[in-house]
Amino acid sequence: MQSIQNVLREIHQLDEQTQQHTALSGIHPGMKVLVTVFFLVLTTSFDKYNLTGLLGMCIYLIVVYQLGEISLGGMLLRLKELFLLLFLLGAANLFFDRTVISHWGQIPITGGMFSFLTLYGKGVFAVLAGYALVSTTGMENVCYALQVFHLPRILITTILLTYRYLILFVKEVDRVSLAYAMRAPGQRGIHCKAWGSLVGSMLLRSMDRSETVYQSMQLRGFQGQLRLQMREPISIGATFAYGIVMTGMLVLLRFIPVFELLGSVISR
């Protein structure tokens, strides 16, 4: 898990990002979710040695990041942990797959090297695609898309409430941790003697708060589900155009080695 300050900063950044009016603002969130999932399926379906084919998928990300006016700066911290995880698993490929497939000068290039890089490529692309979805759509609109897909209301309401109370609880944890740290200077983390009482009292407060929340929701006519509506108008034409263009582009990128073909044409 990330540090509390990082989480607060990232939520704040995402909120600012989703408030922006970009070329992707009028697209239906359901279409964005579908296109993202399609991208993920195609990206992860690449063979482990098909590195140049996989790299072609970055075109989709470039287009989405450009149209959504998303900054890549906020992504660097996210990728740090992913890099470590992928390294731990991918490094095995370097040792177990030593079949030399070519030489670059004097340096032998093994299949393991290719599969290692492909694993990294897939991991990074998937994270970038997920970030693009949530920063151009917003969590509430993602829930709206889930509602359009007829997912159970109980699930959607739970996700939405969790998201809405997230900042409140993260800030509370921050305050509690700070208060503890000030009374126990130089100590890393919470001492085992305080594990139960510290988190337990927070849990009890949360339960009491949920009771108040339920009562106030009932007073406002809550009957088991929250009604979600899009804040911005949706352009049906733009939504269909986005869906058709993006899907077509992804299929093209998946089945035709665009980079290689273009390169060979130019270098002729």
Binding site: L14, L40, I62, Y131, L155, L161, Y165
Partner: protein
Amino acid sequence: MHMADALIAPAVAGTMYACSTGAAGYSIYKMKQSEELKKIPVMGVMGAFVFAAQMINFTIPGTGSSGHLAGGMLLSAVLGPFAGFITMIGVLLIQCLLFADGGLLALGANIWNMAFYGCFIGSFFIWLPAMRHGVTRRKITIASIVGCVLTLQMGAFSVVLETTVSGITELPFSAFVLAMQPIHLAIGLVEGVITAAVLNFVYEARPELLWTGYDAGTVEGLDHRKAKLSYGKTVGVLAVLAALVGGVLSLFASAFPDGLEWSISRLTGSTELESSGAIYQTTARIQEATALLPDYAFPHSDSIAGTSFSGILGGVVVIAFCMVVCQIIRYAQRKRRAK
């Protein structure tokens, strides 16, 4: 233990989504049946609480390192398995979308590995039988630790299986298991102790909040007839399961380094599956046409450098083209907004 999208093949991801959807569907059905509407806001608030509480560092005495709280067992002990499972789905989805902890494609697998075992196995096979004759501090401690350790072991083993079946890593199955299980044993122990500490505090302060599978608030005087397994029998079943997983399966894994290949060879007599039919031939042709490294070699090219150069050159041109087009669209958008 969050799996990234890169670690899972689409077919495995789809299968895990189907499994998790089944469990979620059943949970929602059970919740609707018992008309637990009141629980929905509690689930949302508890989801946010678990998310936030996972960020607290707990010092592990004598080690200098720290541990974190697990969600599944804690939520199940307070909300029950069905509401706990739905809440965990919410937490995992938000972690995935907002903080890149696990991928969107791998979400089904992550729900199964982290929420299903913790909520269902932990509740029905450990928590519920343990609390059958009433709740005590000792029982809470044992159930929490055993529950966290066992469910985390199951989750870790599932990660190994899903990654191996996906064909992502060259790491032999046995080595992968040996790397994953011991580390998650330690993590499970720490998480179990933290969960036990929290639940014991809740028990002392507000015992009626703990879920025992029976009417809320009846901590004392539970209906003994409802439970199907006695405490002793449950411990026995768990011991046999632990022996099976720990002993038999690990021997199995070390004797046959690649479990998947071994299984296929036992079934077909060969380590590779022979496929025939029009669909296979069509897909094979598509694969031949699109594969850049068939049998470790580039098609129609003896030189890797030549192909790489073409690829890089083409890539630069396409990227430049895309960026120019996107800039034009953005410029047009801004101009329209300005008007």
